[in-house]
């Protein structure tokens, strides 16, 4: 008996290709999808360079040097923005490129007069939108290393000059415990030579930099001169505590380079990032609920209710439009509930962005309603719709950023994601809540979402005519 029941189960499964598809094909498809996203987007660096834009209205040499240093790093894709010529243009460029997600990080060389303390210069602003915290850490580390090396080079050059010309009046000479004397001169030479080879990890000059930091020549100019001077048996220069001189001066120099980390989006908002997550989750569930509601069309067809409706005064256009309208309104309410909750609990400043929210909610709901109707009219049965919608919605959500933030994806995956409603909706809500841009900036998102709504809605109507003219 048990085997008979088992046989019934197996036969049912074998006679149901859709169920087989859901059991065996869909998991493999999703595995492949996520494998693509993770193998080319998150887990490896091969395809995912940090995109850095250098904004320098003053066209300074420093910016060019920074660009060069960043270019030498394999993990960075640096772009020197040369067309920005004044501060106003720079501000506009920063806002625009952030909202378009052109760069992971912007490095802006601030003009001298911006500094309140004239003695501190240059000032570098690292402008992030918070989407890629790794980008900030990496670039900050590279730039600090760059300025350290620059300072060390400058100081050593100065020391070299001082060593070669002798002490000047006013030079403060310190006696080091390792000060040269005939007794310790030779061992000290050895020390200096070996110091250039066997650097200690905790030495700021000798610590092995990470791979992404460009390598420079060891800073041994002053030391070699000292050795050569001793070999030539010239009158020894005034002894100088080299270690102390280098360490203290370099520290002073690097302190003078002011790094300012700017996150314009979080300056006047408490928790704007939550809005993006709310949008991602809302669109995912909106797609599910929309297809669930659109499925009533198939249920009504199977039950004969559609026949009764179509034999009444209502035509097919009324049926399709009525269902679309219900799904649209329900979608608007669903998103509103989600964002109201986010406002209540996380304070996303919903009421400050109400026009943008309404526009995005309307266009997103319209697009998802049409998409759901399209799937329903395309399917021949409820079971077929279930299989199709699960496959489509999960794929769209994975690619479009509802499951994995899009900024973590490779550029290729981001491009593919543009074929999903999720991506456009999330981008739009992000512009509204995160970048706080005006409604005009949502033009592209609205065109795409509303255009899709019109096209898919029309196709739904065309497909639904099979019920009328069978």
């Amino acid at each position: 008996m048990t085997l008979t029941i088992f046989r019934i189960m197996v036969l049912r499964l074998l006679n149901n290709p859709l169920e087989l598809l859901l059991i065996f094909v869909v998991p493999v498809a999703f595995f492949s999808l996520f494998a693509m996203i993770f193998s080319h987007g998150i887990a490896t660096g091969e395809n995912k360079k940090v995109r850095v834009g250098i904004v320098d209205p003053g066209n300074t040499e420093l910016a060019k040097e920074l660009h060069q240093v960043l270019l030498e790093n394999a993990a960075i894709n640096s772009h020197h923005v040369s067309h920005v010529t004044d501060e106003k243009e720079a501000d506009t460029f920063v806002t625009r490129s952030q909202s378009n997600n052109e760069f992971d990080l912007l490095v802006r060389v601030l003009p001298q007069e911006v500094d309140t303390d004239q003695s501190k210069s240059p000032a570098i602003a690292l402008i992030t939108d918070g989407q890629n915290p790794m980008a900030l850490a990496i670039v900050q580390s590279i730039l600090k290393s760059f300025f350290l090396q620059r300072a060390a080079q400058a100081r050593l050059a100065e020391l070299q000059q001082r060593l070669s010309r002798g002490p000047r009046e006013g030079d403060q000479v310190k006696r080091s415990p390792f000060q040269r004397t005939p007794a310790n001169r030779l061992p000290r030479q050895t020390d200096l030579a070996s110091a250039t080879k066997n650097r200690k990890p905790d030495d700021v000059f000798s610590a092995d930099p990470p791979d992404f930091i460009p390598q420079t020549k060891p800073q041994v100019i002053g030391a070699e001169n000292l050795i050569q001077a001793e070999r030539r048996e010239e009158p020894p220069p005034i002894p100088i505590d080299l270690d102390h001189e280098l360490q203290s001066s370099v520290a002073e120099e690097t302190e003078e380079v002011e790094f300012v980390v700017q996150n314009p989006q979080s300056d006047n908002q408490d928790n704007p990032r939550v809005a993006m997550y709310a949008a991602g989750i809302a669109v995912l569930f909106l797609l599910f609920s929309a297809t669930g509601n659109a499925a009533t069309l198939l249920e009504e067809h199977e039950a004969g209710t559609l026949d009764r409706i179509l034999s009444s005064r209502a035509g097919l256009i009324h049926v399709v439009l009525g269902k679309w309208l219900a799904i649209f309104v329900l979608g608007c309410l669903q998103i509103t509930v989600m964002f109201s909750w986010a406002e209540l609990i996380f304070g996303i400043h919903l009421f400050d962005h109400l026009p943008g929210f309404c526009v995005m909610t309307g266009s997103t709901s319209a697009a998802t309603a049409s998409f759901a109707m399209f799937l329903a009219t395309l399917s021949r049965s409820r079971a077929q719709l279930n299989a199709l919608s699960v496959l489509m919605i999960l794929s769209m959500s994975a690619l479009g950023g509802s499951m994995i933030p899009r900024f973590a994806m490779s550029d290729r995956m981001k491009e593919i994601g543009k074929w999903t409603f999720n991506a456009w909706a999330i981008d739009g809500y992000q512009k509204v809540f995160w970048y706080q841009l005006p409604i005009e900036s949502l033009e592209t998102e609205i065109y795409v979402l509303c255009g899709s709504a019109v096209i898919l809605g029309f196709m739904s109507f065309l497909l639904s005519t099979r019920w009328k003219t069978a």
């Binding site: 039950a303 004969g304 009764r308 034999s311 009444s312 003219t469």
Partner: protein
Amino acid sequence: MTGERQPLLSLIDVRKSYRGRQALQGVSLELYSGELLGFFGPNGAGKTTMIRCIGGLLRPDSGRIDLHHHNQVPSRLGLVPQSLAIYPDLTVEQNLAVFGKLEGVPRRELSARISDVLNWAALTERRRSLTKTLSGGMQRRLNIACSVLHQPNVLLLDEPTVGVDPQSRERIYDMIRDLADQGSAVLLTTHQLDEVETRCDRIVIMDHGLIVASGTLSDLIGRSIGKPHRVTLQFDRPYPNEAEAFEFDESRMIACCAFDTLRELPGILAVLNSLDIEPTQIDVQGVGLQDVFLEMTGRTLRE
């Protein structure tokens, strides 16, 4: 009954085919006010296709379907699908309201019409119940009630009594008869022979997409078997000779004799005395629609 009245609905040489298979092969029919027409035929005969064509759900390949004016007012059509075409998650009243609006019942009249129809279908007490909580018979009644809110002149019912108990069936036919008595033309399809025999004013037998016979039961009997009564004899082995007034089937183990009036019965039974073999069973019965139907459509299974 059809007399000189003008038909409310007429079909003229209606044809419809699906992928090369002829579902309707030139159906012509007229339906009159106050008439209850029973459509009868084997599975796949084309009954549902014809109803869907009349209801506007299918477009015929050729022919005409005309819904005529009744008292200078265009006739209204009501369709009761074979399945329960109602919303199970709505209450009885809500179902009636939405279908009333879809049929264009004016808002000011809707409430009164709903009350009338609830009363007519004996569902007033359950008006606020969810439809899915109703019994099968109640759901069937609601299914019909939803189609009469707009007071149609022509009502099409596709197997309205499938799966209901005898009490509910009686109630449903009472409802249908009410509508016919009020002047509506009712066309129903069914497989229930007794329903057609006893309830319908006129019977149409359909087979292979064609109307093979139409008329009252006595008309059909007259045109097929010829006489309304019959004596049937059964033998335990093939009867070797002929028997006066009786006709044998191919096996020669069953013999039949049709007659017009019961007064002829003693004369027919007298023949039994002269039979070479004694029959094992003798049946005297009236000819029914099943006999007519099998006579006209044969005994071959249809799918």
